[in-house]
């Protein structure tokens, strides 16, 4: 409990910065919706004339693309990117902070089991993630409602919940990195390239709707168009998330219990 409290308190300021930034991203993009909407009037007729190949290529339908939720789906990828960086930072920092900050000698020699330490820290990270998502959902709802366009709230909720799933994935991945990579001197140097790599892989695959590669990048597990039309998520990807997060967390506990703690000195 004390580990949880200390970690959570230490993260306060950063949480506020991130929450504000994420809210900013949502607000900024949704504010552009009116301009976007007027820009694409008349797209409907054009769409009818598109050959199948192109429709498949860019996956545009009136419902999924030109609605306000469709636009929201677009901004989701940026929200995912930012949130994933935050989540991975959180995960990586978990253990590496003690080592690089030289407090391993302090914490790890207290009468506490290693698993308790991991639990406390993960719990704090999870609390941060949950708060972020509450903020995100609230701001999303407000911003979308503010555009005045019609939308289905439950679908919006569904779509914004994907942020939580992505954060869990990267949090777990970050935690796994933090117990396997021996010396992490710069959290950002690990998390940024990793997240961006997945993002770029996702973006490249996205343009061409490449099915095989969908499994590789978490950024492609959740398709906004699918969520809008089917009002659900594709179960196989939910399963991947669940399995990965569970496996990574378990591995984190196991590895950390066994490994030597090398302090900086």
């Amino acid at each position: 409990m004390n580990v949880f409290l200390r970690e959570f308190r230490a993260y306060r300021k950063s949480l506020i910065t991130w929450a504000v930034s994420l809210a900013g991203i949502v607000g900024l993009f949704m504010a552009l919706y009116p301009a976007f909407a007027s820009d694409i009037e008349g797209l409907n007729e054009m769409l009818a004339n598109f050959p199948e190949a192109i429709k498949a290529l860019v996956n545009i339908t009136p419902e999924t693309f030109m609605s306000v939720l469709g636009f929201y789906g677009y901004l989701l990828s940026f929200a995912w990117l930012a949130a994933s960086i935050q989540a991975m930072n959180l995960g990586v920092v978990i253990i590496s902070k003690e080592v690089s900050g030289k407090t391993a000698d302090f914490l790890m020699t207290k009468p506490v089991r290693r698993s308790e330490v991991v639990t406390g820290k993960l719990a704090a990270a999870l609390a941060v993630v949950l708060i972020m998502n509450v903020v995100f959902m609230a701001v999303s709802y407000l911003a979308v409602a503010a555009t005045g366009a019609e939308f289905d709230s439950s679908t919006l909720l569904l779509m914004s919940s994907t942020l939580l799933l992505l954060q869990l994935v990267f949090l777990a991945l970050g935690a796994l990195f933090s117990v396997t990579i021996p010396k992490i001197k710069s959290v950002v140097a690990v998390s940024l390239p990793t997240v961006f790599a997945f993002y770029i892989i996702g973006a490249i695959g996205d343009v061409l709707d490449n099915v095989e590669l969908r499994w590789v990048s978490p950024f492609r597990y959740f398709d906004p168009a699918y969520m809008i039309t089917e009002r659900g998520m594709e179960p196989e990807y939910l399963l991947v998330v669940a399995v990965f997060v569970a496996a990574a967390i378990v591995a984190t506990y196991v590895i950390f219990a066994k490994r030597d703690i090398h302090t900086a000195v």
Partner: protein
């Protein structure tokens, strides 16, 4: 010079890792093009008619996706992002690491002025950037040629690579400046990459709404946008001048501030 050589040695594996990543990314991108040859003439006509906002959403703005070079142009943004992340992290890291790792009491008690050390580090960073750029250029030529259909592309790629180089130098300078001027060098990498991330988002925002076009001066990704470069066949002198100004100011600021401030021990 000794500082230069030492930094070159210290970064060699990182450079290899990033270079490999760059090669893989270019290959996989172009390979996807090869797999989905949308070779129809009519397609090009239709793609042209898609409204700017839609194009922006799919990152297709102004490209002829049917040609290998055109497709590569669309890929370029992701190359640019990779280059920017690498450069920003490199710039911040080179300057901040002595204070972060507490080796500043060793290095700066030596008979070398801070400026001299800074020069060695910055030069090493520049060499790293150039190498990455060369790797990107070589892979681009190689893989575009591999999937090309007898269309000329050489000058396009050269131009894009020059643009990439400018982008790298800009973010490198920003990274160095953030680390050099701040009293909290440990968080320099995060701040530098936040700036980079912000300009990345801004790039999309500017493309989404024509009214916001004036904001293009605030995001270097717009200075060297692939579609513009390939259409004009040349760099925009205004943007080149702006880039040079940013870099000069950032580097000069770094030298001044770094010599004048106390080193965080």
């Amino acid at each position: 010079m000794n500082v230069f050589l030492r930094e070159m040695k210290a970064h060699r594996w990182g450079l290899v890792f990033w270079s490999l990543g760059m090669v893989m990314m270019i290959y996989s991108g172009m390979a996807k093009y090869g797999a989905y040859e949308a070779a129809d003439e009519s397609v090009a006509v239709i793609l042209d008619q898609i409204p700017g906002a839609v194009q922006a959403v799919f990152g297709m703005t102004g490209f002829d996706l049917t040609s290998a070079a055109g497709f590569f142009g669309m890929l370029f943004l992701y190359l640019a992002v990779m280059g920017a992340v690498h450069a920003a992290l490199l710039g911040a890291h080179l300057i901040a690491k002595e204070e972060r790792d507490h080796t500043s009491e060793f290095l700066y008690a030596k008979p070398a002025s801070r400026s001299r050390v800074l020069t060695g580090k910055l030069l090493a960073g520049l060499v790293n950037i150039i190498v990455l750029n060369m790797v990107a250029a070589a892979s681009s030529f190689y893989f575009v040629e591999m999937f090309n259909k007898d269309e000329p592309f050489g000058s396009d790629i050269v131009l894009l690579m020059i643009g990439l180089f400018f982008l790298q130098v800009i973010f490198f300078a920003i990274g160095a400046a953030v680390a050099g001027t701040s009293h909290k060098p440990k968080s320099a990498a995060s701040r530098a990459t936040s700036i980079m991330f912000g300009t990345f988002l801004l790039f999309y925002v500017v493309n989404l709404d024509e009214d916001l076009e004036f904001l293009k001066y605030f995001t270097p990704f717009k200075y060297f946008e692939a579609s513009a470069l390939m259409t004009d066949g040349a760099l925009d002198p205004v943007f080149v001048a702006l880039s040079a100004t940013i870099v000069v100011l950032a580097i000069a600021g770094t030298y001044r501030a770094y010599s004048a401030r106390d080193l965080a021990i």
